[in-house]
Amino acid sequence: MGTIFKRDFLAYFRTPVGYAFMGVFLTLAGLIFYLSNLQSLSGDLLSFLAQLTSLCMLLCPLLTMRLLCEERQKRTDQLTLTAPVSLFKTVLGKYLAAAAVVLMTVAFANVFTLIIALYGTVYPGEWFVGFLGFTLQSLSFLALDLFVSCFAKNQMTGAVAGFGANFFLWMADLLAGKVGVPWLEKALNFVSLYDRYEPFLLGQFSYSSVLFFLTFIIVCLVAAVRVLDARRFSEGGAA
């Protein structure tokens, strides 16, 4: 697992993908920061974080699309899948590599916290809860995208499908208010990532949300392993 993690993490910075992710994320975050905080002279960290979600939704598929799809396209998965490493460890290693890039990016995003701290006040509790929520939400998007990309042969398809899935889960609660079917409403509310993120944005530490995000990540990864495992039965015709 460590071997896979190391290789995939380094690969992000051997190719433009890692730089593109961090660069675009931080640049756009800076723009949002300028518009929502600097222009209006606001020191509100949480409302700034709330607006970063859409960036995450958009960019996380960029990170996950290469982990499985590129390997499949270039057939390098024939090395990892025939090595004495279990499928779960392989998937986990890959996920953690992408997660490490996200964590680095989130760490860099604290430049904005620093700016607020210089000219205003940052409450440590608020900062902690806000960033924890944001990180968990980003990692959930990442796990979901990794799972969705299992179904795609092509990196582009994987990324687009990932973005679609992100967007759907994020606005599931909006949909829930309109469907009028009670059980469906409940289900949609349950999976809505935005609903889970909201308490953090209000400055509340929500155990149930933390638990939900962690479970969500594990379920996505296990499902990804299952899909890859099942694919060995259905695929691989004359190459």
Partner: protein, 310 residues
């Protein structure tokens, strides 16, 4: 040791493999022959656990590659049809990754990959990015990857495709060297290669095993064929040959000289049919210019095997 037991792979109603069984004993080299699309790659992918069979099982050193993947793959080196190279890595980094993946101890990795690079002639390329390598070197890098971890079992899918003649000779030499004490299964559609390297041959056609034999057993055990050139016109000798005791059939081959006849004479199995031929010719006072036994070539065996179903 490799055991493939009754492996069938089906996609919907299409059979890629039909009840394939074969065994490769430890220390032997088995060549898997077949036309393109015969199912060679699918079989190797199932053996290495990359694909799952619809039914049947594949064992590596007694471990099922599907049910006990970690034990089964511990002693496996696999060179797929297309070498699985990460373009953004250098040769050295890539081999270190492969070695680590196969559980080589961290401290012995540098020495190990030096050895592997030396063996595959990659020493000069160690710092190059894999994306900058020529096809021949990419193939070698793939081969080197398969050797990482010093596996007992090597599975090679068309290892010499795309190489120039010198490289082909080198890779073949390497397979021959490695074959001592290891179990090697490799696929090919180059007959001479298989003939040079293998102890056993399995011919796969349309997903099924057509022929499995040890090399040197290509001949039909029930008959012996002689090829003779005699100083006589065709008309005067062929009918006599056909009447000879124990002759099954006579095939006349074209010659450059009208006063000579070259023929293949197939006898039913018997010791020294040469004696009969010689007595016939001497009784007719026909000089014998050349005489040899014909070995059925692998090519004939192969063509016969794949034409059976046509």
């Amino acid at each position: 040791m490799i055991e493939i037991q009754n492996v069938t792979k089906r996609y919907g109603s299409v059979y890629a493999l039909r009840d394939v069984s074969l065994t490769v004993e430890k220390g032997t080299v088995l060549g898997l022959l077949g036309q393109n699309g015969a199912g060679k790659t699918t079989l190797l992918n199932i053996l290495t656990g990359y694909l799952a069979p619809t039914s049947g099982r594949a064992l590596l050193d007694g471990h099922d590659s599907l049910l006990e993947p970690e034990e089964a793959k511990r002693h496996l080196g696999y060179l797929p049809e297309q070498p699985p190279l990460y373009d953004e890595m250098t040769v050295q980094e890539y081999l270190a990754f492969a070695a680590e993946l196969k559980g080589v101890k961290k401290s012995s990795i540098p020495a190990h990959i030096d050895e592997v690079m030396e063996l595959c002639g990659l020493g000069a390329m160690r710092g190059r990015l894999l994306s900058h390598l020529s096809k021949g070197y990419r193939q070698r890098a793939g081969f080197a990857q398969a050797l990482c971890g010093d596996p007992d079992i090597l599975v090679l899918d068309e290892p010499t495709v795309g190489l120039d003649p010198k490289q082909i000779t080198e890779i073949r030499g390497l397979i021959r060297t490695l074959g001592k004490g290891r179990t090697i299964l490799f696929s090919s559609h180059i007959l001479s290669e298989v003939q040079q390297l293998c102890d056993h041959v399995v011919i796969l056609h349309e997903g099924a095993v057509k022929t499995a034999m040890a090399l040197g057993e290509e001949n039909d055990p029930d008959e012996i064929t002689l090829q003779a050139t005699v100083a006589a016109a065709e008309k005067s000798i062929v009918s006599r040959l056909r009447q000879l005791d124990g002759v099954r059939r006579v095939t006349v081959l074209p010659t450059a000289h009208s006063d000579q006849t070259m023929a293949q004479i197939t006898f039913y199995k018997q010791p020294e049919p040469e004696r009969r031929l010689f007595s016939l010719l001497s009784s007719l006072s026909i000089p014998l210019l050349e005489l040899s036994r014909v070995q059925d070539s692998l090519e004939q065996v192969f063509l016969k095997a794949i034409s059976d179903t046509m």
